[in-house]
Each structure stands twice: as C-alpha cells, then as structure tokens.
C-alpha cells in the first residue's frame, strides 16, 4: 500500500519516530518554559541534565541493579535535587542581574557536567535494555509498533498534560503564575517565594531527567546525547514562543512529526527543517506561534 508513492510502513515508521522525538522535544521545552517563566533563566544545562537522567538510571541498573521502574522515579528525584542545589548555591545570586548571566552560568555548568561524564564514560556510549514488561510489540497489520515506543509517547503526553493541568488549573499553579507576574506581591501574601523558585527549578530539571530515563532504552546512553538535542529544543522554544506552557507541548510534538515527515519525503532536509521553520515563523510572528510580545 502506498501513499504519495511512499510505502505506508516507511511513512508510519517515520511518523512514529517523529512522534517519539516530538515527545522528547515537548517534555524538554516544557521544562525550559517552566524554569524560564519563574526564574527568567534559559537553562542551558537542560541538555546536560537530560543526559544525566539517562546516565543515573544506567548507572543504577549496571552497578546497583536498580530496575527501570524505580529509576523512572529515582533519577528525576536525584537530578532534581542536584538542580535545587545548583539553584540555591549559584543561580539565586543572578536574579538581580541581566538575564544573560543565567544563560552563561548554565552554559558553564553544561560544559562541566558534560566534561565530567565524558571523562568517566568516554563518548562511545552504552545501551540500556528495554524493560521486560514493555519488550515486544503489536502488529497493527500495516506496521509493527514496539511496545516501548508506544509507552514513551503515552507517558510523555500524560506527564506534559499533567504539568499543564497543575500550572493552569490548580491553586499551586496559580501561585506559580502569580510568581512570574509579581514575586514581591506574592511574598507579601505570605508565600515563600524563594522556596517556590527552588522547587520549580528542581521540577523543571526533574522533567529533563525524566525524559532522559525514557530516552535511555531508545537511544544510546552517551555524554553528548543532550548537547545535540538541546539546540533543536531551543529552536522549538523559539518557534512556540516562551510565554505559553501549552505552546511548548503542542509545538514540540508538532515539530517532531514535521521532522519525521521530512525524513520520508526529503531526507536531506530533515536536520534543518526545524531551523527553516524557525526562520519563517520569526519573519511572520517574531514572538513565536503561541508567544505574547513582552
């Protein structure tokens, strides 16, 4: 069976890969958006912390025998705690300054983390087995759908929309949104804003690590997995516009699909298509698709 001269298996396969990549884009750009919203910092270390999430679960499995399901919770917690430590010791000194210093500091952190992991593990990478429960797949008749890949798409969408729900529809979320508008006023209402900021950074970083754990069985676990991905995520963020949580989710998934489709119809352009889209969007809507002018 063909669609536009492309075998349906190939089309569906690329769309699935696109959907998976899109899920990672969505979780990562969501984390960036949450951190940016409250801390006004572009977390350049996001890619490194995503890589760390994958490595923590790999180290846990290899040396301590900690299985995937435990790692799925434990890695984000470990990395999130590290994130909170970073926020308490370094980032909090930068809030009064130009936002660019936050970007520069986290860039330095990314170099440190990546350098340490490269020193320890080399750049060849290691593989992480798919958990038993999710091995195998479904035969859909026109294509074979590995269970694990379906799980990645499903769980990342659940996590993304869960985060969206918390931020946009709950009391806690309303504090967060108030904090981005006017931290002083919120403080005056008796909310511990510095603690809230620390926890938010921890949560955003935890999301990155969570994506890392999800990615471990799909991709090779290696020290540069984050630095290659993060630039694309930045482009996603620029296209989506940083103002909106929903924007980062929708743009993330959407661009993953677009990338997958490009791989089918014009493979040479697949690695640049997102940046081309970014150029076009910037020409037409400088604030991004879902962003508001600030």
């Amino acid at each position: 069976m063909d669609i536009f001269g492309i075998p349906i298996q190939a089309l569906m396969g690329q769309l699935l890969i696109g959907l998976i990549n899109g899920s990672f884009y969505a979780i990562l750009s969501l984390g960036l958006a949450i951190i940016f919203g409250l801390l006004n910092i572009i977390n350049f270390a996001h890619g490194a912390l995503y890589m760390m999430g994958a490595f923590v679960s790999w180290i846990g499995l290899t040396y301590l025998g900690i299985n995937y399901w435990v790692a799925l919770i434990a890695s984000p917690v470990v990395v999130g705690c590290l994130g909170m430590l970073i926020e308490r010791t370094m980032l909090k000194h930068l809030y009064r300054l130009d936002h660019l210093y936050g970007l520069l500091l986290t860039f330095g952190l990314a170099l440190i983390i990546e350098g340490l992991f490269r020193y320890q593990f080399g750049i060849s990478g290691a593989s992480y087995p798919v958990p038993e429960l999710l091995s195998g797949g479904f035969n859909l008749g026109f294509m074979f759908l590995p269970k694990y890949r379906a799980w990645v798409v499903l769980v990342s969408l659940v996590v993304c929309f869960g985060s969206w729900f918390i931020i946009e529809r709950t009391k806690l979320g309303s504090y967060l949104r108030a904090g981005t508008e006017n931290p002083q006023l919120l403080q005056a209402f008796g909310i511990n804003v510095p603690l809230m900021i620390t926890l938010t950074y921890g949560f955003g970083v935890g999301l990155a690590a969570f994506a890392g754990v999800l990615a471990a069985p799909v991709f090779q676990v290696n020290p540069v997995m984050g630095s290659n991905l993060i630039i694309v995520v930045f482009a996603v963020v620029v296209i989506g516009g940083m103002g909106s949580i929903m924007g980062s989710i929708v743009t993330g998934v959407g661009l993953g699909l677009v990338e997958g489709l490009t791989k089918v119809f014009y493979p040479e352009a697949s690695s640049v298509v997102i940046f081309v889209i970014m150029g076009i969007v910037l020409l037409l809507r400088p604030a991004g698709l879902f962003g508001r002018e600030r």
Partner: protein
C-alpha cells in the same frame, strides 16, 4: 600620555617581538581568536547584544576562503575578502531576523540560526563533511610574498589583526559607537532621542559578523584547514567566555581573554576532557564572582587607587 596610546604601542611591540619567544603558529591562533573576540565584544560589550551564534561567521568564512583559494585558485588576499564578504552577508540575514527580539530571545535565535549553518556545512558537498576541508594552500600574498613561510604568514596575520582591531577601536570611539552604548544602557531612551535603533543594531551586527569572518578566513589559511569545529555551537560559547574573561566592554580585554583561553587549550591538551571541565569552571567563576573580567577589574582597581593614566 593617554592610556589607549600606551596600549596600542604595547600591543604592536608585543606583536612584533612575540614570535621570537613563543611558537608563531600558536601566536597566529591567538591573534585570530583575539580578532574574533574583539569583533564579538563590539556586539556584546558595546551594544549589549549577546549573540550565541557567532561561530557561524567564523566557520562559514573559513569554508568560503578555503574553497576560493583551493578550488577557484584565487590569491590569499582575495580568498580572505571573499570569506569576509560572505560572513557579512550572512550577518545581514541573521541580524535582520534576530534583532526583532531582545535579550535571551536574541541569543537563542542566533544560536538556532548558527546551528542551521552547522547542518548545512555538514551536508554541502564542498565542505568535506566530517573531515572538513584540508590542505588549503596559503599561496603568495599579492603574488610576491610566500605565505608558506611561517614568519611571513605571522606578520601577515598580525597586520590583519591590527587592521581589524583598529576598525573596532574606531567604531567604538566614533559617534556611531556612542549611539551603540546609548542603546546598551537604555534602549527606550535611545529610541526617544530619535535614533533608528534597529538600523544601528543591524549595522553593529553586520560589522561584527564581517570581522568575525575576517578572523575565520585568516584562520583557515593559517591552519590550511576549515572544519566543523569552527561552526559548532561550542565555538560560539568559547568566544563568549574569552570576552567575558578578558572583560566585556573593554578595548583590550578580549585580546587577553583569547590569549588565556587559547593558551589553556593548547597547553592543557594532554588533560583531555578536563579542559572542557576547566573551561566550564572558569565560566561559572566569571559569572558568579568576576563579571567585569580581567581588564574590567583592573580598571576598577586603578580608578580606586587614584592613579590617572
């Protein structure tokens, strides 16, 4: 006697004498990066625009210069001109897109656009992909001077550097530079004074891109190599570090920053991955404790001690 003149004389004297003491190839590398850092500083230090995609200009100029000299058989000076012109054109395109947003957005847009250039450099047939463009001939300058000779090449690079540095210095200390500083300090005020801020920013961006291209094209001739390293976003980060470390918004700072970072990478090569970690640590320390950079801190010390130069 004014401090700037002393600085210029010291700079030229050091430049002339240095190859007698240090390895000239290392010095040429430092000069290329110093020019790159000065060009970058024009944008970050004097206009307040943090571009995170300057590697695109350095790298693409290198490729174009390499291609012009190697495949089209142009002379080295025309090759460098071609590289610079392409970087300037690219700077115009990037600048037009990026200056529509400010601050962090600006940084991320330049970064993403530079990554586009990286992928193109990876895929274009003439760039040599992962291997890069190797064995670029240095040729003869004006058809007479053989640049294959290291010392000839060194003085040629020194002349290019001094020219570029002079351009930056002139730009900073001209009315144009004053407007740039006004934009950096208070953009709405500059707008209300009637300046066409976007045009000034774009002009600064193109000038910075062109000089970065000049550095990149020269570098390609020095090492007879143009590779993906120069277009990678790590390079864009390194140039921020050099500028920050030396002191952004100071005239001589970026030169010192470039010398330190290049020296560190050169002598620290056997440390392997620790160089990356060390670079990161320097970055973090600079941002947390040392934001004025070496020359910025020096200026403050001198001012406090009451010495007038």
């Amino acid at each position: 006697m004014n401090g700037k003149l002393v600085g210029w004389i010291a700079l030229i004297a050091i430049g002339l004498v240095a190859p007698l003491v240090l390895y000239p190839v290392l010095l040429m590398k430092i000069l290329c990066f110093a020019l790159f850092a000065c060009a970058f500083n024009l944008l970050l230090g004097y206009t307040g625009l943090l571009s995170f995609g300057h590697a695109a200009f350095l790298g693409s100029a290198g490729y174009v210069c390499g291609y012009a000299v190697q495949s089209l058989g142009l002379s080295p000076e025309l090759g460098i001109l071609a590289g610079t012109a392409v970087a300037a054109a690219l700077g115009f395109v990037f600048g037009s897109l990026a200056i529509r947003r400010a601050g962090i957005y600006f940084a991320m847009i330049t970064l993403a656009l530079a990554q586009l250039v990286y992928f193109l450099a990876l895929q274009f047939p003439f760039t040599g992909g992962e291997d890069g463009m190797q064995g670029i001939p240095r040729g003869r300058l004006l058809g007479m001077i053989d640049l294959g000779d290291t010392m000839n090449m060194y003085y040629f690079v020194l002349a290019i550097f001094l020219f570029g540095f002079w351009v930056v210095d002139r730009a900073i200390h001209s009315p144009f530079g004053q407007v740039l500083k006004a934009i950096r300090e208070n953009e709405p005020r500059a707008v209300s004074l009637g300046y066409d801020v976007e045009k000034y920013k774009l002009l600064a961006f193109v000038l910075s891109a062109a000089l970065s291209g000049l550095a990149g094209a020269t570098k390609a001739l020095v090492f007879q190599l143009a590779s993906l390293t120069d277009v990678h976003w790590h390079m864009s980060g390194e140039i921020v570090l050099m500028t920050l470390l030396g002191g952004m918004g100071t005239v001589f700072g970026p030169i010192a920053g470039a010398a330190i970072v290049v020296g560190l990478q050169n002598y620290g090569a056997e440390l392997g991955q620790w160089v990356t970690v060390l670079t990161g640590v320097i970055f973090v320390i600079c941002v947390l404790a040392f934001r004025r950079g070496i020359f910025g801190e020096l200026a403050v010390l001198i001012r406090r001690s009451g010495i007038r130069i």
